[in-house]
Amino acid sequence: MAYLDNAATTPMLPEAVAAMTKLLSEPGNPSSLHASGRKARRAVEESRERVARAVGCGSAEVVFTAGGTEANNIAVKGIAWDQRSKDPRRIRVVAGSTEHHAVLDPVQWLGDSEGFEVTWIKSDSEGRITPEALREALGDDPTDVGVVSVILANNEVGTVNDIAALTEVTREFGIRFHTDAVQAPAWLDLNFSELGVCAMSISGHKVGGPHGIGALIISRDCHVTPLIHGGGQERDVRSGTLDAPAIVAFATALEISSERRAETVARVSALRDDLVTRVIQIAPDAIYTGAKKDRLANNAHFIFPGCLGDSLLMLLDAQGVECSVGSACNAGVPQPSHVLLAMGADDDAARSTLRFSLGSTTTQSDIDKLIEVLPSAIERAKRAGVPKLTTAPVRA
């Protein structure tokens, strides 16, 4: 089997599995006051320090969450609410048009249900949010903006945004800036303090850690209105018993992937470049999307004209090659990718995509396997075609 879907999730690093399983059978709530509690608390706090070192922030700025989606929700909603409560003029939320659904949907919800105004920042044709586009979205008078959120590295096409350049734009207006960095830590040397953001989301299972754990890095001066109320854990931002085994495993994975980053990036980007070259040789009409530089080392994303992405995925799956049409979808009906649409692709192209995302365990034989089975998959998928979309409404 060739697993080329590491942007969806990564296999856990053996060191992370060992760290996690060791703690699973031990008693101790990190909030308890006895010896077992203190031991668990120590594991959590040491992990907090390791996470902070890995992403360039202070340990007090690390708030553990149940994953990237929760971190994004806390940031987007929590900052928007807090800012509006302090200054009622701040009723606008500004976000990139290429955001992951974990930002896209909370932003849309704030607009639909919470009385905020929403401005989407236009993407360029490579999936990049430029300072010019941000300026245009902010408009002449950005004093009504409560929070800006822009993804650090796009989960579908792998384009890396220059967050430091974007926060230059918002700094003069004192606007809070959040970035979804979930795809980034394994591939980019993140330094929270240099990005100029006040909040940044990261996730465990994208870096060889477990599912269900992540963190929101929040600067000391950034306040959020909590989504979850309870025991007041995690600076009162995120109540709930801390998951010590998952936190330790997350910190272990993040630390190891940071230590090995230079070597992994060099090896994986060479494999990725080989994949891209050979895919284009097989399918000269395929379009390699996204940024050519400023791109995640593990991402290769294509439009295969005339092939439904779903058809290709199924055919490759049957041959033991696992990839994705873009971001994973749980809503039942696959939709054309909003990221591709934001980049200017039409409906057909936005449904004719495949994402190959490599990881630390990817080998040359995985790429060879893909190249071996891709030609017949493309041929069959082309025969099946891309059915047209109709949008005629039926009145409910």
Partner: protein, 363 residues
């Protein structure tokens, strides 16, 4: 064979797929997403395409060890089934959307895509049987008369039948449920779906009234030509309908009046005594043959409703290929748009869409 099992999330398609696995086929499962905005949960026995159904289909596939995918057919369904349903009603006809779905979606869009992707056949949970006859595969009624679905498969062509598998045709529903239970299929007790899947509340008239602009018009006595009432929109009426006419003055003989014709062009609903509904000559359009075309003058049976009787008749085929059906006895109430499915014993010969029906001089 490499076969594609269409799993609705219900009992029948799950057992059908399980039987295909048992028969040694390499089975891949798909759930057809027919709605762009599916509801998250089923409410009652209506509807078919909730996320819960998709999850049930996933679990059934999982138990069979079959890879599972969701195929988005919502655009095709919208265009070929829902819009066709609306335009047929708007034209004063009474369509059968399940037939249209089989014709355009399950055994056309899905089958064609499956064949292109390298599958040999599509397997579904329909109750019908396919036998190898002298002239190729034949479509026959299921053994369970209560569940027989050969009528809604009457639109299948010989080529489509050749690439279809209906593993449930030799079983009764009771047997299939018991088998699902025995196999541990979690949806064994799930109720059958009923009615029209895209009208979840079952209120077809109400739903149609939101899709078609209603123009009030007159109700006319078919025998006298006199105006006897008004209506809120002709499309809401079907030939044979009695309820909802709200006619003030009854007929002279006190007999109940029925809709005998719907003239959408002039926005007139014609009513009359039930005897005017008695017809024996059926003119049709869009013939589709399940095998060799029979000789004109053949004695056949015709079925004009999903669970209607098979009526003895004589088939006449015109020089242009059009089908006219002469019934042996009068039939009460047949609306244009309904499908006439033709049988030779248990074998489906073909089907056609009713365009007009009347009383012949010969009976």
């Amino acid at each position: 064979m490499r076969v594609l099992a269409a799993l609705s999330g219900g009992v029948d398609s799950a057992v059908a797929a399980a039987r295909a696995v048992d028969a040694g086929h390499d089975v891949t499962a798909v759930h057809l997403a027919l709605s762009r905005n599916p509801q998250s949960h089923r409410t009652g026995a209506r509807g078919c395409c909730t996320i819960e159904d998709s999850n049930d289909a996933f679990r059934a596939a999982d138990m069979l060890g079959a890879p599972f995918y969701v195929w988005d057919l919502s655009s095709e369904f919208q265009e070929k089934v829902i819009e066709d349903f609306i335009s047929e009603y708007a034209a004063g006809r009474t369509p059968n959307p399940c037939l249209r779905c089989n014709e355009s979606i399950k055994f056309e869009a899905v089958l064609e895509r499956a064949m292109a992707l390298g599958f040999d056949a599509v397997v579904t949970g329909h109750y019908a049987q396919i036998f190898q006859g002298e002239n190729g595969p034949e479509l026959h009624r299921a053994v369970d008369p209560l569940k027989d679905q050969s009528y809604v498969l009457g639109v299948l062509t010989a080529d489509q039948i050749a690439h279809s598998m209906f593993p449930l045709g030799d079983s009764t529903k009771v047997e299939v449920r018991a088998e699902a239970d025995r196999r541990g299929i979690l949806v064994a007790a799930k109720p059958d779906s009923h009615d029209i899947c895209f009208i979840p509340d079952g209120d077809t008239a109400g739903w149609l009234s939101r899709q078609i602009d209603s123009v009030p018009g007159v109700v006319v006595d078919a025998e006298t030509g006199n105006k006897v009432g008004t209506h809120a929109g002709a499309h809401a009426f079907t030939v044979g309908q009695r309820r909802g006419l709200a006619l003030g003055n009854p007929t002279g003989d006190g007999e109940r009046r029925y809709v005998v014709d719907v003239d959408v062009k002039n926005n007139v609903v014609m009513v009359g005594p039930p005897v005017l509904l008695d017809i024996d000559l059926i003119e049709t359009i869009k013939p589709r043959w399940a095998g060799p075309v029979p000789a004109s003058g053949s004695r056949i049976h015709v079925q004009i409703r999903a669970h209607g009787d098979a009526l003895p008749a004589t088939l006449h085929i015109g020089d242009d290929g059009s089908i006219t059906i002469q019934l042996d006895e009068y039939l009460r109430g047949l609306a244009a748009g309904q499908a006439a499915v033709l049988y030779d014993g248990t074998r489906v010969i073909g089907s056609a869409t009713v365009s007009r029906s009347r009383r012949s001089a010969s009976v």
